[in-house]
């Protein structure tokens, strides 16, 4: 086939069409494989353990002002006047576990000195946002925490509380 014949033709030549067809199919195939690979590496969480629903305890075990650590679920239950706040114990800075310091009356991360109050708000240090939340509901007087879903927040808001 001579090139000037090609140029004369209007539209797309057969060769060019096939070339694009091949290219597009190969790209599609590659994309599909990559998506599959990514999905392979994203496991579904098993229920019961961390990542599933966890019973923290009776609602009246968390009176206002109390801080309770539920290590199985990796969270703190902070008792407030109008309900409880369930916060992941993971520092929002770089993921260290934040201990509650009874002597200081606040959360104090040992890694880079991040400090949070009872509502999880940042008082000092490098954490970029308050402690993350788990959603919880009260079923038969028990606090059931869904550790599968993490909610990030910019500040404390009473709507984040769970109550009966």
């Amino acid at each position: 086939m001579k090139s000037n014949e090609n140029a004369d033709q209007q539209g797309v030549s057969r060769r060019r069409f096939l070339l694009w067809g091949w290219g597009a199919s190969l790209a599609l195939l590659l994309g599909q494989s990559l998506t599959g690979l990514l999905r392979f590496f994203t496991p579904m969480v098993e229920p019961g353990g961390f990542g599933g629903k966890i019973v923290a305890g009776q609602i009246d075990e968390f009176p206002p002002g109390s801080i309770t650590h539920v290590s199985k679920g990796r969270f703190y239950v902070s008792g407030m006047e109008d309900g409880v706040l369930v916060m992941w114990h993971r520092c929002t800075h770089l993921g260290c576990t934040v201990p509650w310091r009874e002597d200081e009356g606040r959360f104090h991360c040992p890694c880079h000195g991040g400090i949070y109050n009872k509502k999880g708000e940042v008082l000092a240090g490098p954490p970029p946002r308050p402690l993350d939340l788990f959603s919880a509901e009260v079923v038969d007087g028990k606090v059931v925490v869904d550790t599968g879903e993490v909610t990030e927040r910019r500040q404390f808001d009473p709507s984040q509380l769970t109550s009966t």
Binding site: L38, R74, L94, G95, T97, P99, P110, C111, P128
Partner: protein, 520 residues
């Protein structure tokens, strides 16, 4: 019987001749053939430049890296015979390796030391290549491969760091992977991919294990082989072989060829001497002539020696020296193993492995996305771009290129040594983040101020240099030196000066008897 007759009998034997296509390598021809016909040997050049063999030139860092990698493959395979990558069993098997298996502790020590030293050797090798200008054309792409090798090495080392499953490992990896979570858009996906969940657990352990024993070693073997082969293809080590004023006449052999009387000259070369003479006494064959330049342009056989046996001998010496050093290190200091990993209790301080502790120091001064993603990303891009920003061929193969280059590096080093520690101390004293909390929005103290300050500190030496009309190479020397020295300073500060709570302390006065060296 003399040695000669023995080698003769050996090289005449059927077995020898079935494998080697040449005789005993004691003459130029067989020495060349040895190098070109063996799979492993052919990663070497046939002949090497004399200057490139000097210790003061290459310091043997590339070979040292390869030796360390071989030691890692060997000791790592040994450890795999006992290690079980499970959250419950990993730590007990580590204990068992150290206490219940003959030479188990020693094997682990060797592996640990070799891993640390390999990262160090790769970094120093990169610095050597940069400062001797060996990234210049035609070696640009091998420099790019080298940057990827650096990244793969870091990955291999970092994934191995988790496997002991002690507190040190657990929290170092937690902090490290959380930095990845700050990558814009893909951050949390990336983190989940790495960990196979939201925290470091069984999925993360087995992922790191597979990456560590399979993916990264395979990548390393491939990339190292390619890197070495490419050194040969690019014309060996850059040891000042391209002189700025060419003194040898590369076409000096042409008149000789003229003497063969034959008229099958190539019509389209337009030359009047014969390139493919038909001559029964001819001992060489040319395949084809094409236009274009090869890495061998401007270089002749002068100043070169056969690789066999000198290069192999040097490699053997480096191999023995490196393993001996490892041996001494392993006897002097055991690899640490802390308490078993406990996700609910964070150790204090929780430090990343030493090669990332510089980043952790940086994290103290700015927003995590800036310190953990943007700055490292920019640095890697800068490294990749160096040979394309400075694309002149001249000045390669000599430390700092010129006397002026040397002075530039010296002054830049001094400048960085003053400026960066001052920045760390001042920023720690004032801490804009806390001073401006609630006064100005977070991005001012966490993004704006650090970008402006660091940007100025990096740009200043280049601006000063402009007065002397620098070459691109000299600008690269300045920028690379600022980067390299800063990396060293931040690493030292993060490693030695940061104590509990990651606060600055004088190293001789760490609270609670904390000794940073214990983390190595």
């Amino acid at each position: 019987m003399s040695i000669e007759s023995w080698t003769n009998r050996l090289t005449q034997s059927r077995l020898w001749r079935s494998y080697f296509r040449h005789g005993w390598p004691d003459n130029p021809l067989d020495r060349s053939l040895l190098m070109t016909s063996g799979l492993f040997f052919h990663l070497h050049p046939v002949k090497v430049n004399r200057k490139s063999l000097r210790w003061s030139y290459s310091m043997g860092l590339g070979i040292i890296t390869i030796v360390l990698f071989l030691v890692l493959l060997f000791t790592g395979t040994l450890l795999m015979f006992y290690y079980i990558p499970s959250v419950e069993r990993a730590y007990p098997t580590m204990k068992a390796i150290q206490t219940g298996i003959p030479l188990g502790q020693f094997t682990r020590d060797m592996h640990r030391w070799a891993a640390h030293l390999m990262v160090l050797a790769v970094i120093l090798h990169a610095a050597r290549v940069f400062y001797t200008g060996a990234y210049k054309a035609p070696r640009q792409f091998n420099w790019v491969i080298g940057v990827f090798l650096l990244l793969i090495t870091l990955g291999a080392s970092f994934t191995g760091y988790l496997l002991p499953w002690d507190q040190l490992a657990y929290w170092a990896i937690t902090v490290g992977t959380n930095i990845a979570g700050y990558a814009p858009i893909i951050g949390s996906v990336l983190r989940t991919l790495l960990l196979g969940g939201r925290e470091v657990g069984q999925n993360a352990l087995i992922r790191f294990y597979t990456l560590h024993i399979m993916v990264f070693p395979l990548l390393l073997i491939l990339a190292i082989s390619y890197h070495m082969w490419r050194v040969r293809k690019d014309g060996g080590l850059a040891a000042q072989e391209v002189s700025d004023t060419p003194d040898a006449e590369p076409e000096g052999t042409a008149p000789e060829a003229d003497q063969h009387d034959d008229n099958t000259s190539l019509a389209d070369t337009g030359r009047d001497w014969v390139i493919f003479p038909r001559n029964p006494s001819k001992t060489y064959g040319l395949v084809e002539l094409m236009s274009g330049t090869s890495p061998m342009v401007n270089r002749g056989p002068e100043n070169t020696v056969f690789s066999f046996p000198i290069v192999l001998l040097l490699e053997l010496i480096i191999f023995l020296g490196t393993t001996f050093l490892l041996f001494l290190f392993s006897l002097a200091r055991h690899a640490p193993l802390g308490e078993m990993a406990n996700p609910t209790i964070t150790i204090d301080p929780a430090k990343a492995p030493w090669y990332f502790v510089g980043l952790q120091e940086l994290l103290e001064h700015m927003h995590p996305t800036l310190a953990g993603i943007v700055i490292p990303g920019v640095l890697v891009l800068f490294l990749l771009a160096i040979p394309y920003l400075d694309n002149s061929r001249s000045g390669a193969g000599r430390w700092f290129t010129s006397a002026r280059g040397k002075r530039i590096v010296l002054w830049t080093t001094l400048y960085t040594l003053v400026v960066m520690p001052a920045y760390i101390l001042l920023d720690n004293l004032i801490t804009p983040r806390e001073a401006l909390r609630g006064v100005l929005p977070g991005y001012v103290s966490q993004w704006l101020i650090p970008i402006v300050v660091i940007g100025l500190l990096v740009a200043l030496p280049v601006l000063i240099l402009r007065r002397w009309r620098p070459t691109p190479r000299e600008i690269m020397l300045t920028l690379f030196t600022v980067m390299f020295v800063s990396a060293v300073i931040f690493t030292l500060s993060g490693f030695f000066l940061r104590g509990p709570g990651f606060k600055l302390y004088p190293p001789w006065n760490m609270p609670g008897g904390y000794n940073p060296l214990n983390d190595l």
